[in-house]
């Protein structure tokens, strides 16, 4: 446990080191990056084995930082953080494996990449709102460069849009937090302090503050209608960055909503709850329908991310232990599955065929040429459809149960989203790999695709393994998550029977 903060320091050190190593050779930079990410993940897993779930976050470091403002360097972890730390380590390691073919400015790529990871670890460990915000920004900046420099389709546009949306969102968050801090007479940015300060505000003011902070974070979580950065950003980003973007960065937003916005302003949540739930549901359905008609398979995956994150937001909005536990599980699950989908589409398929158009791919009947990629995509597709046996199923099931408890109509509408997800996933799987059923022969031009390399195989197996293990044994994570929801900070917001 005590070593958890080192995930941040290690990632930052790895970023410097791979920058230096990149000046000598690209291979050195890759290995440094892989070693760093794997080591950080190892730290998390080692901590996880000794982790005993508790209601209160367990403090790891608590130092004075900016005494004049009461900002502290306070890192702590509870079951929710642990779940997302495990995800971060996994997604980072797998993402590097799928970025193995980055040949241009390799050192810099991995330097930005690991800085982003450091920021993400920091966010999931922060117990102080100011510190949280600093790490949050640290994660956003490298994202811009990763896309703008190493991206593909429309990269300048995608990167700029993503950065502007992110900064606008964080500006809202900062405004809300400062408002609460300044007028509430809090002595520090500790969440508990801020919450007791916020509790003294009249309900109307809480409603406004909640809106600033929650919707500010929700931009990054891809809540409809603030989601438009996500598909363009995902498509423009290089594979490893898409995986991180969908895998962990979107989780930062949802995590912020859960960790900061909801406990600070319970009255605000009570007011906004139906609106958030319906925006989440619209997101699930709308993004699913848009995914159904895309011609670029990366856009399909991009919109599917928005749709799946809608389930997370619905779980948060339902605000009972079942739904919120499901939402956290869904964050993990979507991180793994979206990573896998982007890996297949971006790395295994696009880097070989140089097309992502379903109309072109369907002519290739790729399953004959890339059987491993086809198998992975089928499995990832099933997981993404919420098939039982994969991590998405217990997550969406819990969310639906919690949502039903809050309002049967929400659950019924969201269940329609499950069906749409099945339709667009089947379509994209079918067109990408199993088209061309009419012609049995392989077009000559595509006969010589490079075989799937070992980093791709390793990364895919890691992610599939995680999706299956958690799908068959969701208790591994739920036993961490559920006790954390008993924390006094959540007492006023997460109501209803124990799951």
């Amino acid at each position: 446990m005590r070593l958890l903060p080192w995930t941040i320091y290690l990632s930052l050190a790895g970023a410097m080191l791979s920058l230096a190593a990149g000046r000598r050779s690209a291979a050195a930079a890759r290995w440094v990056a892989l070693g760093t990410a794997a080591a950080a993940w190892g730290l998390v897993l080692a901590a996880a084995t000794g982790f005993s779930p508790s209601a209160l976050p367990q403090t790891l470091v608590d130092l004075d930082w900016i005494p004049s403002m009461g900002g502290r360097y306070h890192l702590a972890a509870d079951g929710i953080s642990m779940t997302l730390l495990v995800l971060t380590g996994l997604a980072a390691t797998a993402g590097i494996l799928f970025s193995w073919n980055i040949g241009e400015r390799t050192g810099e790529f991995f330097a930005f990449y690991l800085t982003l990871i450091a920021g993400v670890y920091g966010v999931f460990l922060s117990a102080d709102a100011l510190l949280f915000f600093v790490f949050y920004e640290l994660a956003i900046v490298p994202k811009y460069f990763l896309i703008a420099i190493w991206g593909s389709t429309n990269r300048e546009y995608g990167a700029m849009k993503l950065a502007l949306y992110s900064f606008a969102g964080s500006a809202l968050v900062l405004a809300g937090l400062l408002w609460a801090y300044a007028t509430g007479g809090a002595h520090s940015f500790a969440l508990a302090d801020l919450a007791s300060a916020a509790a003294r505000f009249p309900a109307g003011q809480q409603v406004a503050m909640f809106a600033l902070v929650f919707f500010g974070f929700a931009v990054l979580a891809g809540l409809f209608p603030f989601h438009t950065w996500a598909p363009t950003g995902h498509v423009a980003a290089p594979t490893g960055a898409s995986m991180l973007l969908a895998g962990v960065v979107m989780k930062l937003g949802a995590y912020g909503c859960l960790r900061v916005a909801m406990p600070l302003f319970p009255a605000g949540l009570a007011f906004w709850q139906p609106a958030i739930a319906w925006l989440a549901i619209i997101g699930i359905l709308y993004a699913g329908l848009v995914a159904l008609v895309q011609d670029d398979c990366k856009f399909v995956i991009g919109y599917s991310s928005v749709s799946h994150m809608g389930f997370v937001m619905l779980g948060l909005a339902a605000a009972n232990p079942r739904a919120v536990a499901g939402a956290v599980l869904q964050m993990f699950s979507h991180g793994v599955i979206a990573g896998l989908l982007f890996a297949v589409v971006g790395r295994m398929v696009y880097d070989r065929t140089h097309t992502r158009r379903l109309g072109d791919l369907r002519l290739l009947a790729l399953y004959r040429l890339l059987p491993f990629a086809a198998t992975v995509f089928v499995i990832a597709g099933l997981a993404s459809m919420g098939f039982p046996g994969f991590s998405g199923f217990p997550a969406e099931l819990s969310i639906l149960m919690g949502a039903w408890q809050a309002s049967p109509l929400w659950a019924a509408a969201a269940a329609l989203g499950v069906l749409i997800a099945a339709a667009f996933t089947l379509r994209v799987v079918q067109l990408t790999f199993f088209g061309g059923s009419g012609s049995r022969e392989t077009p000559a031009a595509s006969a010589a695709l490079p075989p799937i390399s070992w980093p791709e195989r390793t990364g895919a197996l890691l992610l599939i393994g995680a999706a299956v293990v958690i799908g068959l044994k969701p208790d591994l994570l739920l036993n961490w998550i559920v006790p954390s929801l008993q924390s006094p900070l959540f007492k006023a917001v997460i109501k209803g029977g124990a799951p």
């Binding site: 339709a423 059923s437 208790d475």
Partner: protein, 510 residues
């Protein structure tokens, strides 16, 4: 708790076979076929050893395996067996290897075919044996994926579309089913079929669902109903079936009709009826009409098909609808005596088994014709095949008569029991259903006459050797079983009769 987890072994043995096939990448087609067949036969072995340990007269589930699984959802790894499940396990053990035998000459990607087929077989067994929704739904959903690829990759020219339609329809049903169980769990805190049905029997479940108010209690029932009705399929949710069965390769059609259509009927008997007894009673009259729609319209639709495979597909809708007709009649009541109810329900279980045998045998026959005709399988593409292939004609004819319900063959007993039961409860429904029997005889005789009699014509005008090899073995075994269970139905009835008597005894009679 038993020392030997025989049910887990039954489910995992085909999967282990699939894994073995997957791990031998250089296996020759012959070795792949043999391995798949052996792994597939494991089910029959497991079925027999289950019979050896099974006490038909004991109440409740036997050979139960129950372990905690997901604490937050109160879900369990729970397997159990009663007479109904046992009959279906035996059916799977017969139809699955027969389907593999019928695919013996299938040349393309034999190893992958075997893997998918065995995965599908394991899923079907899981559906028949799992007793906790979380566990059961895993198999229920997973079964779609191998079925999808088996239809799509090895099917006819329209297979892509048919497979997609099949999966989307079924998944749509599943989404409703899932939502229904979400509601049941929130109301009761349990996903265990047995626990839910006990709660339902006391009326506790209806009361808790009624607390939702408005349309929602009905919606929960409808959700579960839809999920199962699409799978059976019950008229009018059947439109996915004819293209899927027709486009699939014969061996796969055999499994789809023989085993997978039983998953839906099983769901009605195991889930919908015990958990929603009062709801199904209230809706019984419209449901009876739907089942009659399947019986009558299915038969008429089969009559006007020119494509032999589609003809058998529609006849499947007709035959499976008898099972549901029996169930809905019992649910409708009022029952004069428990005997009519146990006759109808026993007939339904028997019909599931018998239809599995006869429909898979018929798909095998049509598959042989299709292979000879190079994909042509219209009723007008053949003629006079009997003189060229007398053994084939004879076996095919017996399978048809079994399907029509000729006494002495297996089909008769099940339909007789169903009609006896239904006549005793809702005579008008039984009378209407008689029309289905009549038309069934009509289209089978047309099939027989046009394909096997008359002057040799079409495909069968040229060289038309008699049925041979694996096809012959599989068809002969299926036909032999038709005689066996036609003459000694007691072999099966003995397994489930106490269960059916107990069901009927629990129903209100004046």
């Amino acid at each position: 708790m038993t020392a030997c987890p025989i049910l887990s072994i039954a489910i995992f043995a085909p999967w282990a076979g699939a894994l073995l096939l997957a791990l031998v990448p250089r296996a020759s087609p012959a070795l792949s076929r043999a391995l798949a067949l052996v792994a597939s036969l494991s089910t029959l072995l497991a079925g027999f050893s289950a019979i050896a340990r099974f006490d038909p007269n004991a109440a409740g589930y036997q050979l139960v395996e129950r372990h905690a699984w997901v604490s937050a959802l109160n879900a369990h790894y729970c397997l159990g067996l009663d007479g109904l499940s046992l009959v279906l396990v035996l059916l799977t053990g017969i139809v699955a290897p027969a389907g593999l035998l019928a695919s013996w000459r299938q040349p393309r990607e034999v190893r992958l075919f075997g893997i998918l087929y065995l995965v599908l077989q394991g899923c079907a067994l899981g559906v028949f044996l799992a007793l906790d929704f979380f566990h059961w739904f895993l198999f229920w959903e997973l079964s779609l994926i191998p079925a999808f690829f088996l239809i799509k990759l090895w099917g006819g020219p329209g297979a892509s579309r048919a497979a997609y339609q099949f999966v989307i329809y079924t998944l749509a049903g599943s989404a409703f089913l899932l939502l229904g169980f979400v509601a049941l769990f929130v109301a009761s805190g349990s996903l265990d079929f047995d626990e839910l049905s006990r709660l339902a029997a006391t009326g506790g479940l209806s009361n808790r669902l009624a607390a939702l108010g408005g349309f929602w209690p009905k919606a929960v029932f409808l959700g579960v109903f839809l999920g199962l009705a699409v799978k059976v399929p019950l008229f009018p949710f059947h439109t996915w079936l004819p293209p899927a069965y027709a486009e699939a390769p014969a061996g796969v059609s055999m499994f789809l009709t023989g085993v997978m259509s039983k998953m839906g009927v099983y769901g009605f008997l195991r889930i919908l009826w015990p958990i929603f007894p009062s709801e199904i009673h209230a809706a019984a009259t419209p449901l009876l009409w739907l089942a009659l729609g399947g019986v009558v319209l299915g038969a008429f639709a089969a009559l006007r098909q020119r494509d032999l495979k589609r003809m058998i597909a529609y006849s499947s809708i007709n035959h499976v609808s008898y099972c549901l007709l029996a169930l809905f009649a019992v649910a409708a009541g009022p029952l004069k005596s428990a005997a009519v109810a146990s006759s109808a329900l026993g007939g339904a279980i028997l019909q599931m088994f018998n239809h599995g045998l006869s429909a898979s045998a018929l798909f095998l026959c049509v598959g042989v014709l299709e292979a000879r005709g190079g994909g042509r399988r219209g009723i007008g593409d053949f003629g006079g095949a009997r003189s060229a292939a007398p053994v084939f004609a004879g076996l095919c004819g017996i399978a048809m008569f079994s399907s029509i319900g000729l006494p002495g063959l297996n089909g008769f007993v099940g339909e007789f029991l169903i009609f006896r039961g239904v006549f005793g409860i809702v005579p008008w429904a039984a009378a209407t259903a008689c029309m289905g029997v009549l038309v069934t005889a009509l289209f089978y005789l047309t099939f027989w006459q046009r394909v096997f009699h008359g002057p040799r014509a079409g495909v069968s005008a040229g060289a038309f050797p008699d049925i041979a090899g694996a096809d012959r073995v599989a068809l002969a075994i299926l036909v032999a079983l038709m005689f066996l269970f036609g003459i000694a139905p007691q072999l099966l009835v003995g397994l489930f009769n106490p269960l059916v008597t107990a069901w009927a005894g629990g129903l209100p009679t004046p």
